[in-house]
Amino acid sequence: MSILVIAEHDNSSLKLATLNVIAAAKAIGGDIDVLVAGAGCGAVAEAAAKAEGVNKVLVADNAVYGHFLGENLGELVAELGKGYSHILAAAGTTGKDFMPRVAALLDVAQISDIIRVESADTFARPIYAGNAIATVKASDSIKVITVRPTGFDPVSAEGGSASVEQLDIVKDAGLSTYVSEEKAKSDRPELASASIVISGGRGMQNGENFKMLEKIADLLGAGMGASRAAVDAGFVPNDMQVGQTGKIVAPQLYIAVGISGAIQHIAGMSESKVIVAINKDEEAPIFQVADYGLVADLFVAVPELEEELKKVL
């Protein structure tokens, strides 16, 4: 078996999720090649070559891949992928965008968002917002798979010494062009890989009040998340949404503040090791999944939490 893993990156650094995807590839077994497609992405290729378990790094460095447009990546990966038994990418917004195109061009099914490898052709994945886990067997000769990073412990970023090969394949589908980008800048750990996450919901009342949570996040070195209601209301940016249709997180500690615990939210955080809920409604469903529940007004409890944490940290 030979597996092609598509690296996720921003042209300057390798996204950690790639290490989780390589771990999924190791669980399948076989030679693992990593494709780094981007523009000016040499440093990413070097980083990928150091990752544990990688055989070869293929680099497609060209302006047409610079913004990771699904149309161009789809053609590139479909062409390269023909020689492999499995093609894997992280189930982030980039992978979700181009991978189904790869599957369609190869005339094979895609298996989305796997959380477990049972064998080389059988995988477990959540369906119905994580209310059920399906074990599916794929019969196509090439398996196109997106991997939920939280399902796999990452391989080590160091220790590997893969060869690096430059590709000269330029695929410009000519269907789309990049216009602009607005990325939230933050010094906080990335939500998807933070070991502590604190999220606020509609109970926060406005964006200004999220500053209370920021103070806690700064104390704990935590990433910040939110419920859909908080995002829809414009309190915080969309990329902070945790849930079925937002980010999936599985930190050591997840703190939900003023979040009721709708199934769509739980779907994004139920794999967290320890869950804390602060909510003034003792009947709120979030308490059914919380290891530690505090029934309290958040406007009293959160400042108190800040003071108590300062004492012990």
């Binding site: 913004h67 699904g70 149309e71 789809g74 917004t93 965008d97 181009f98 991978m99 189904p100 599957a103 369609a104 099914a109 895609q110 298996i111 989305s112 959540p126 369906i127 119905y128 209310n131 059920a132 886990i133 399906a134 074990t135 599916v136 196509d140 269907l175 789309s176 062009t177 990049y178 216009v179 602009s180 980008e181 607005e182 990325k183 939230a184 998807a192 502590i196 704990l220 829809d232 940016p237 969309n238 990329d239 249709t245 980010k247 050591q252 500690l253 199934i263 139920s270 320890v274 290891d291 530690y292 529940g293 505090l294 029934v295 409890a301 108190e304 108590e308 944490l309 012990v312 940290l313």
Partner: protein, 249 residues
């Protein structure tokens, strides 16, 4: 211009999902079904484009058993002009759905195809992208804003870390994210009117598509339940537990 909207019949998003005791699937007997929420957003976007005078005809398609006609009628009540039902009792995987939609695209020649980004039952998030690849079209996935500009469409997408805007040549495929719009409710008079709008039924064979199954579901299980936690009396107890019991801070 003409727009094609694909809508899927799924379990209502408010229903508590239960796994069948024989682990063959999810219990759908006597469960409330509805239009997939992302498809409602797709229909709404098409209707808004029509209200702006950019679109003159909205064709809505659903693939599935007879009952899927209910969701087509809902879309017609919301403002779509006519419906196409691709009738099949078989389970249709995303690639086959994309092939069926491609056949309809070939016939109808829409300038824009709008789908939901994800079905809330399979959570696949594939069909729109597959259709775009098969039809050789550009794609604006996870759209939070759609602006048609002559023979181009600018789509702002919800991506990890923020937003990204792409420009696509028409015809193109768009898949909707939650914040593209807030769908309206159908009024009673419009529900009545929808009953008279044309709804054509075709089979996969009519469209020249063989429904093959590439994935077999070996079992469906309930996720591991979290063990019940405790309520703490105050913030001091919470911090103490996090530090000394759970050891996570």
């Amino acid at each position: 211009m003409k727009v094609l909207v694909a809508v899927k019949r799924v379990i209502d998003y408010n229903v508590k999902v239960r796994v069948k005791s024989d682990n063959t699937g999810v219990d759908l007997a006597n469960v409330k079904m509805a239009m997939n929420p992302f498809c409602e957003i797709a229909v709404e976007e098409a209707v808004r484009l029509k209200e702006k005078g950019i679109v003159n005809e909205i064709v809505v398609v659903s693939i599935g058993a007879k009952a899927a006609q209910e969701q087509i009628r809902t879309a017609l009540a919301l403002g779509a002009d006519r419906g196409i039902h691709v009738e099949t009792d078989e389970e249709v995987e995303s690639l086959e759905a994309a092939k069926l939609l491609k056949a309809i695209v070939d016939k109808e020649q829409p300038k824009l195809v709008i789908l939901g980004k994800q079905s809330i039952d399979s959570d696949n998030n594939q069909t729109g992208q597959m259709l775009a690849a098969l039809a050789g079209m550009g794609q604006g996935t996870f759209a939070s804003e759609v602006v048609v500009d002559g023979d181009k469409v600018n789509v702002t997408r919800e991506v990890d870390g923020g937003h990204m805007t792409v420009s696509l040549s028409l015809p193109a495929v768009i898949t909707t994210d939650l914040r593209l719009n807030e769908p309206r409710y159908a009024s009673l008079p419009n529900i009545m009117k929808a009953k008279k709008k044309p709804l054509e039924s075709v089979s996969p064979a009519d469209l020249g598509v063989d429904i093959v199954s590439r994935l077999s579901t070996l079992k469906v299980e309930a996720p591991a339940a979290r063990k019940a936690g405790v309520k703490v009396a105050d913030v001091a107890e919470l911090v103490d537990k996090l530090k000394n019991e759970a050891k996570v801070i």
